[in-house]
Symmetry: D2
Subunit: 424 residues, 4 copies
């Protein structure tokens, strides 16, 4: 066993896995510092610190990253309406860059040669963490025990870890492990693995931790409003209360969403490594915020900007986040267009929250891109109907040419090989 292999900063969770990794790293001759990030998860940080030091960590660092998580990751994703595969709001993906940056900052300051984490070898998070590490500090060395044969062969299952924990003096709480794994932060909680690996198993009612079930949510709807500037929420009003600080706003929306059963999803998604995976998520506040933001864009964002942004920024930024490519040139490139897209997204959205539903009840803005008179079906509004005749005439030039060509070929209207979609 090597006497001094160097100093490692370990992403520590307080759980069985990273406690065993901590002990194992020490066993391999490393000096280990433990790192925890507070990104809003429910956690007994003091107990974790105590445990880490007991197991043998030389130092323990707890970094409060909640504000930068909200303002630097969550809010840009809200501005860009980020979503992965139509459904997943990227809660875990969004937290990773902030945690990795916090960790590299401590590793730098404390002279660590290595960083280490307890992510498995099949998941997305190992990729997200490590690509973030390399994007921030390209010469950092990473120890990923769950990808080291000497580690994963020695600990083939939970029982082996428990045995090792006992031997190593690691306190193990006698609560039965949940038959799934979770990852929690301010934005969401995720559930995967265990019984969820059968995609046809309905999650048990008591799995959902953050939100009230829609069935149990209040029977009376609640009205709130969200005010946006440049696509960012600057004021949430719910009854008598108003919130204006960025973090307070997000917390308030979480509280409202949890109460009204908002933001549960259950999906099969495609991991970056190409494996399909079943995951369940609760994302209360961000689900409300997304609905409001998209609605306000209807009122305040130019059609063509919206369309280009949807097809380009939204899709590419979402993929970049999911795949852990935050500290990359392509992320820098893609996000550089967000501010321009949001400078007109100013206004207020009124919402009704009720049993899982986020219902838009109205919106207003002084941007002036919506013109009630011009839009009106009941008056001309400075609009010459004959203009549209010209518009349609021009729009049809190319279509008529094509139709004439089809007809000449005996393919009136639609060519014979034309396919609309699959039919059974």
């Amino acid at each position: 066993m090597p006497a001094n292999s160097g100093r490692v900063l370990l992403a520590y969770s307080g759980g069985l896995d990273t406690s065993c990794i901590l002990a194992w790293l020490i066993e391999q001759g490393y000096e280990v510092y433990a790192f925890m990030a507070d990104v809003g998860q429910e956690e007994d940080f003091a107990a974790a610190e105590k445990k880490a030091l007991k197991v043998g960590a030389k130092k323990f660092f707890l970094e409060d990253l909640k504000r930068e998580f909200v303002t630097e990751l969550i809010y840009p994703a809200v501005q860009a309406n980020c979503i992965y595969e139509n459904v997943y709001l990227l809660g875990t993906s969004l937290a990773r860059p902030v945690i990795a940056r916090g960790m590299i900052a401590v590793a730098d300051r404390e002279g660590c040669d290595y960083v280490s984490h307890g992510c498995t070898g099949k998941g997305n998070d190992q990729v997200r963490f490590e690509l973030a590490f390399y994007g921030l500090k390209p010469d950092i060395k990473v120890i990923a025990p769950w990808r080291l044969p000497e580690f994963y062969n020695r600990f083939p299952g939970r029982q082996a870890l428990l045995t090792y924990a006992e031997k190593s003096g690691i306190p193990v709480f006698q609560t039965a492990a949940k038959p799934w794994s979770t990852d929690e932060n301010m934005f969401h909680i995720s559930y995967e693995a265990g019984i969820l690996e059968d995609p046809n198993t309905t999650p048990p009612t008591d799995m959902w931790k953050l939100t009230t079930a829609p069935e149990d949510a209040p029977t009376t709807p609640e009205r709130i409003s969200i005010e946006f500037k440049a696509g960012l929420p600057v004021k949430v009003t719910a009854g008598e209360k108003a919130y204006t600080d960025a973090v307070d706003i997000f917390n308030a929306l979480n509280t409202l969403g949890r109460k009204h059963g908002i933001g549960r999803i259950d999906i099969v998604e495609n991991r970056f490594i190409g494996v399909k995976s079943r995951g369940c998520y609760e994302t209360p506040g961000a689900t409300i915020l997304r609905t409001a933001h998209i609605d306000l864009e209807g009122l305040t964002l130019d059609r063509n900007v919206r369309s280009l942004r949807d097809q380009f920024t939204t899709i590419e930024f979402s993929r970049i986040l999911y795949n852990g490519h935050f500290f990359t040139p392509e992320r820098e490139f893609i996000t550089s267009s967000i501010p321009t897209s949001q400078r007109t997204v100013n206004g207020l959205v009124r919402l009704k929250l009720y049993k899982g539903n986020v219902v838009v009840e109205g919106r207003e803005s002084s941007e002036g891109l919506y013109d009630e008179q011009q839009s009106s079906m009941d008056e001309l509004g400075g609009f010459e109907p004959t203009d549209t005749t010209g518009f349609i005439a021009i729009e049809s030039i190319r279509i008529k040419k094509w139709a004439q060509a089809n007809i000449r070929k005996g393919q009136a209207g639609v060519a014979p090989q034309d396919v609309y979609g699959s039919r059974v």
Copy 2:
């Protein structure tokens, strides 16, 4: 007044506008045939026929287009997950090509020189109808009275139409007009104009026609399942009942959606002509179907196909539908890739319907792209964790090079001009 200006096939609705247009066309010397399409809207077709003939139509044609609407328009849009501006499921857009095709078929058969419609000069439908007409029959002549100064200047408001109706012997029902306009078909109903033109006016409770309000929907959830082949629903099971015919399936989903308050939206959208417009929609069955289809694609569609299809087919087909470009070469091009994208989308989705929510409770498929063992976090499943080490190493090559370059320039991690998003 010209004696014989030619024969016109008029898209007739039975309402005040198209009845006046009918009378006016006759007044201009045209012989008018009236056309109605049954695309599943709630309508007294017999009364409309009687009225058209009374006003002076020489013939009346009612075409039942429900099956082709469902199988040729709705289902391809379901396969491609079509949606406009993140929210609108395109119900009116989907019906237009089918109606236009039915109308051109009658116009051809009956020797009509013209087709005519009652769409306003500011909306999308005039464009959708006319581009479809020209794509099917490029030499057809179109009369759009609401864009003819001699018509719209003569009838500047509802009162002028009422006066003309009285004069022309057009029966007017003394029910007060609703303070909004609607368009209904099997897929949805839309509401716009009138009091809805203020985007901050909450729609009155009694506006919503198709769906029960979530607040009034059953307090007991209902479970159903939908089976798909090649991305199309082939069986819906709800309790004891099962539906397998394409139209029956869609009707059954509509009934379920209406009962459980599913599919209401309220948005500001961007019309093709560049005017923003507020619309409300109820789309019960299609909302359920969309949720199920997207979910099943998670289980059965390859990641890269899904991603390319989302960015390309879904977005472009949706835009094509919205803008009325159905009978065009680009629609033919875009839809030609749908069947390939759907050949693996086979399986069954289980859903819970409850007060506006469509909750996926499980899904299954024999396609085999999901592999429980391979996905599992608890076992290796024929997977070498060391492979991921190589994957990450290769993925990081380019990222490390970029980070090194940044560091050399004194821009460690992230360049100074880097922008994540707008901040207030």
Copy 3:
């Protein structure tokens, strides 16, 4: 004839058309100011001024817009590698925003109520000019005589204009008109219409004005180098001479390109209004610059940034330019990402110019994204070949799953309906 219809600023060319328009506007009671932009075209501005005033213009304005044309329009397009339909470098499109802006500035300053131009009703330029006018000054009124029936019916052909010119005292030079039209600026010259309207007619040798024919170009190649900073040319070296000013650089490249027969194209393109049109173009300097810029991006631009930029920025900015959407929110959105994409595009490209060919002979940069050792096939260069094994293993996960599914269905390798392309 109205006594005082208001003041018009007319985009004046000195030719027959705009001279007749000038006279006709005066005839309609307008006070007319004439405007010319110097965007680098070969032109006798003094003669044009004299003529305008003789015909009756109250004032004449000549604006030198060459520098802003180069630095604000041409160079961003070079940075983004703009090209329309794979071939056309957008020379006319690029000049229009600069001319329109210059014109609106004069119209504002001089209190003009109207702007007017001599573009035909079928082309792109009317759209480009007018959308630019409206994007800069939404309440400006535009007079486009070639779209006014009272004008175009009165002047159905060249002879009618000649007759009117004679009557109005407009000097007409007795040189025979060329059997095509041209538009010239610093960036290019275009040829269209007349004998070119048959797409199978080879342009006559003497049509090409700017460039030597490759057949007549020097038989000795010439070597030059171009240095870029942030994707912009900052130094061109050709033999003993070096150019560093933005405009000088572009002029020098034009001189070199003309000499060596570089930048002729002959295409059928799709106009914004949906009509196909045949055009020939000479673009000497920009063709050299484009080749060099694209080459340097190979050495200095991250792969993923390049790929995203190509698919979105390049294509969308090119379409925006072609369609005259420069002063729009979508242009603002799209170009906002250009600076980020170009911050690493620094270095030098060496070129050989020879009889129509622009041949890259080498390139260098200190950016460090290219690593000779890492790239080398002859040494390991800090690279573990086993990493690629892991990479391929991970990349193949999803592909193997799909292949297994195909085999299970009896579709080994490739599904039966798979189509690679059309076969005759």
Copy 4:
């Protein structure tokens, strides 16, 4: 040394590397069959067979894949105008799927347990071969010696291979190795590595093997024509000669291109693994074909189809080919839209070939999408200029709204933060 490790099909080139691999595999106890594909490269196949058998291969297979290479890979890529990073025509990428498929067919038929190849661990070809193998036969086992430490550590350089060759009785020709590597097939030849690894080294004149230097090419231009059906060349006419067979056509174009110095490029490209790499290529025939095909699309392809195809099919199919993803669901998806895009691409293109230039001199088609009269600037051609007034009015609605909003905010014309591009 294991007695019987199984049977391996080795992709054999006849060169030093694969001969040593052959010997080494035998040394490891494998029974080795050698495989060569004739994809049009200049090669002494008989000598290679003799050598393989002498070194110890039990069997030797030569598969003539030229026709399927041309018809199944090259021509679909021509139809889709495939190109990688604006410059590279994908010659090596196109050959790999055909070779891999030929190899898997032999491996299947001959009961091989393994396939093996001599690709290095840093390049694209290892990925292309192996992903193709897995996409065709997911349970095939691959031996990649240059990624096996026991192999690459034993043979760290060319000298070690030479020593081993001598020891193993492998004939070594005493010609000095070229200071670069090449890969040749019907489509192109590539050059990389060695002295080319310095991106600023101009390739020596005698490197280029296929094409005459433009400087040495004929001083008299040569005219040819290419006729296309459905986007595929069906007849090439050059002087008295005409070619109509798919392979003959491609060979004839190669001969013409070689003679006139057409198709040389020199680039720095981004490999799939994220390493930048310098490559030179000669692609004579395909360069001519690409120019002609793109030109004919101008005349015969609808604008919107072309635009969508360029942005998605062309770019995605090119990336798929480059990255070796041919036998994947996404390739099947992307190529399924090619036939629809090409059904109107029928006609003839006339070209002039001269010293590296491919000049389009005219084109014709009976498709009828180009309409000389409608396009004409000299006559109305069934076109109402007033229609364009309406078109521009509608197009400007949204732009005026945006300009008005800017002006209200004091941002007339263009917002202050607006950025066109980088400036030095």
